[in-house]
Subunit: 322 residues, 2 copies
Amino acid sequence: MTNIKEIAKRAGVSPSTVSRALSGKGYVSEEKKRRVLAVAEEFDYAPNLNALSLKTGITRRLGLVAPAFIESVSLFTGGFVRAAEENGYTVTLFMTGSDVSKEVEALEALRRKQVDALVFVMFKSDLSLIASYTKYGPIVSWQRIIHPNIPSVFMNQYDGYTIALEHLYARGYRRICNIYGSPTRLNTQSRIDAFRDFCAKYELDPLACPSFDDMGNPSHGEQMVRWWLENGQIPDAFATTNDRVAAGMVAEARRLGLRIPEDFAVCGFDNLDFADMLDLTTIHYPVNEQAGNAFSIIRSRIEEIELPLRPLKFHLVQRSTT
Amino acid sequence: MTNIKEIAKRAGVSPSTVSRALSGKGYVSEEKKRRVLAVAEEFDYAPNLNALSLKTGITRRLGLVAPAFIESVSLFTGGFVRAAEENGYTVTLFMTGSDVSKEVEALEALRRKQVDALVFVMFKSDLSLIASYTKYGPIVSWQRIIHPNIPSVFMNQYDGYTIALEHLYARGYRRICNIYGSPTRLNTQSRIDAFRDFCAKYELDPLACPSFDDMGNPSHGEQMVRWWLENGQIPDAFATTNDRVAAGMVAEARRLGLRIPEDFAVCGFDNLDFADMLDLTTIHYPVNEQAGNAFSIIRSRIEEIELPLRPLKFHLVQRSTT
DNA sequence: TTGTATGCGTTATCAT
DNA sequence: ATGATAACGCATACAA
């Protein structure tokens, strides 16, 4: 509504003086400063951020790109928004539904200067496509990738998965069945490596139980329980790709009258909210801290400063399913 | 980087012709249009949205204000973002942690034209404070309030709660204990009314069991189970304020070796994701649709058009806890 | 159909 | 210490 020129007229000074008085940059006499501030107050002045963005080329807005706002994505979003707001940035959402064309829209928003930088929580586009937009602003990824221009705040799940396996071993389980996620993900490969090394260490047969790929939903967990019943009930423990699969197993086992951990143990991964409600043993994945690091990387690039990253560690949360 | 003036020079036309060619508004010959488009493509032209916002006074950005991004808030956010993006709007997040000063920051963002409108998912500020910002743009609320300038997309929970009570009655429960949320919320009052009318209809004594106020977390649910054990085990069913409290009850009952629904029944409210995993009977609350309506109200005000709102209905989701 | 000129609100540069 | 002026990138009223 009311702009700097208006305030200048009312206060009997020039627009530049008003600008200086309000921003605190540059010289301005105490008397005029007081007058300007009073007039600005009186006429309900508020700076127009679009003009500022145009002038400076900086929006202090960051884009967050995710397929949907469920569970761990929400957790990441919360952590990222908190870090951003603490430092005077604002976060704009881009929800893709795993649709590549929507991902491009987010990239275009960066190109058109709607945001200063982007964080991709999860994506499907070719890495090279995303990388071609880094010339418009910093881009970081949560999803584990390796690219010279796109830092990723991933954690190597080798360590976390090893914690799960060691825990199961310590509890006496020897016939462990692995339920993996997407085989194309680097994290899946890390888990496979962890299991191989674990078996070698304790001289277990890695092929004693079959493994399963591409699991991720509660329904997959339910499926696994039925598989267990119908195929000799061999495994005495399941190490799962995430808490959702584990939750599906727990729910289905209960419906079928099976007892956990007596019939078989289940270990989740992530430690989402509902893991507590289901009393699920799981591996805590510090999503909040990863989000904070994602922001720090972005900020350090935008403001050209060095910022420390918080070290990240998995840990076991033991509950009643093991 | 490259702007309209630059393209104009390269294409041998005036900036306004470029503007017209790119926007499709106004007359421009086919030949020049082709030339301009080719040059724009070649020089990687992208319009600067900040300049556009400054010029037009419209950002096509909406602010969403919420305390944190957990559970039903995430659900609402997802629905709102989807609706917004489908219509060419973008959503910026303001996370308040229930801190009033953070809510003011969101209001200020509206005043400073960083966003065109705001939706308050939940808030603590005085309604009059929020209302004083409606002169800067539309503001709508999910939280149930009544104010002439701030539409709310609430649903009257009288209906939903009645569905829960009728279901419990039909399943044979007669000693129903109400676990309410914050007593200052209008929705709590609606539920109290629903229970009163329900008791009258079936000639039940409304005071047969005590009611509880201000519950909301799983820990409150755990507390309720212990209360039940220590105080004569009177109620045969609990109608809870939300799924989180219900989940706490289910988890604690399991730990204590109680059987649900034999020892007592539990009915949740909301039908969040984990309700399915816990096999919780609950009342489905169409959050997505409410978010869509919130967006429609905002859009109708911004674009000054009439938009229909989707009718909303609760329904029962019967699972194994009743 | 096209081009010129102006303004959106702000800040930075440069005189004064 | 202060003010005039230009510039950020775009759209549009108006003239041609």
